[in-house]
């Protein structure tokens, strides 16, 4: 598997560290049922068989966090972007 880092170009997967499901966002600590939402955000995952949006950290390269959309059935990568540019998605 290779990841096309938007800064460094196509690089071997060994340069990256997997940081999990990118669809998880930090709940509002002052919101209603905040504790429950935090428990869910830390533990529950959709874990799809198919396209999965996930974070990888380019530790062996530019040290960017990137968001990768990858098919968990085939390892095919559909898109890669900087994680901080996709934060509102």
């Amino acid at each position: 598997m290779r990841i096309d880092c938007p800064h460094c170009g196509s690089r071997d997967i060994q340069e990256f560290v997997y940081r999990g499901d990118a669809s998880v966002s930090r709940p509002d600590p002052d919101g209603e049922d905040a504790l429950k939402h935090f428990v869910d955000a830390v533990h529950l995952r959709t874990n799809p068989a198919g396209f999965h949006s996930e974070h990888w950290y380019h530790s062996g390269g530019c040290r960017s966090w990137v968001t990768v959309v990858r098919d968990t059935l085939t390892h095919e990568i559909e898109s890669v972007g900087f994680a901080n540019e996709e934060i509102d998605r």
């Binding site: 999990g20 869910d40 830390v42 533990h43 959709t46 874990n47 999965h52 968990t72 390892h75």
Partner: protein, 416 residues
Amino acid sequence: MRYSAFSLFRETLNKHRGWKPTWRDATPKSTYDVIIIGGGGHGLATAYYLAKEHGLTNIAVLEKGWLGSGNIGRNTTIIRSNYLLPGNQAFYELSMKLWEGLEQELNYNAMVSQRGVLNLFHSDGQRDTYARRANSMRLHGVHSALLDADEVRRMVPILGFEEARFPIKGGLWQARGGTARHDAVAWGYAHAADMRGVDIVQNCQVTGFLREGGRVVGVETSRGKIRARKVGMSVAGSSSRVAAMADLRLPIESQVLQAFVSEGIKPKIPCVVTYGAGHFYISQSDKGGLVFGGDLDGYNSYAQRGNLPTVEHVLEAGMSMMPSIGRVRMLRSWGGIMDMTMDGSPIIDRTPVEGLYLNGGWCYGGFKATPAAGWCFAHLIARNEPHPSAAAMRLDRFATGHILNENGRGAQPNLH
């Protein structure tokens, strides 16, 4: 058909023409008392103990592929009960006790071999950690021993002792651990469950749940609708996918684990050996092949095949533990999908959906658990309350903080 020395003798005279299939390939009925989804080791064991221990007879096991096509036929066959935490240790020791009587119980040769499990340590800190684990085992009535380097060398002289990068200082030893023939465990439970009237239905994929007033009352399958009073999920790496059909999200990520086997060589490794300076474990099959594995690939995957960097990583660890392995040719490698939980321990529990029960989250350690998982899951389904040995394996433990985290790492599945 019962197997015995006599039946073997009779069939030898009969030129082996009289053997019957070990289980019936059943066609699904319209209604069952209990349906178990997943014909792996756990599903078959659950069905067997439901019939044997709880007197239920109208049971079906639904398997989407062929029996044994999942992780039960892909694992590295290690069995052991050398855990640290009370919530785990009692359970795995129950499993070990069931392994010890399994072949007589099932009337099937599962090649259970208590050849011992040796966990190497390479530093003072690791020795202390294993001493703690050894003591925890003993507090649960399970024998353990701490070996020094000379004892390890006498036991497995082929390990890299001379000029090793990480010198071996000793090992944690569980003499009762070992290996079993993985396929035969599935076939044995299928054989014994079938003898008690359980329907084993292959090529029958569950595609949805039948629900009435929120309660699960059966399943939709590729072979039609089947009703049941209770439904148990035992689908290993597919837990999240099947749970999603009941609108549940689980504390699980599915990830791939690879395993490897070499060409056959003369007996060199008498027990199971795990490395302490890298993630690597090895045993030798009765055919002589070295069976080994290491780390997960480390990211979400349902691909049932891994990537090359992990192959390289595992083999490097193997080379540093046992340099002579470099002279052996590798025959095959393969992958299986693990349902990795957030604390690395499994779940045997009711679900928030009435009538639906969950056995899953076995990570890479569910083979050794097969007998006890079946035993405890059957107890849960039949009596609607957890078995005391599996009482800690709750689904809600992540919310209440009663997690079972053997290695003390956080809620990150690829670190367990």
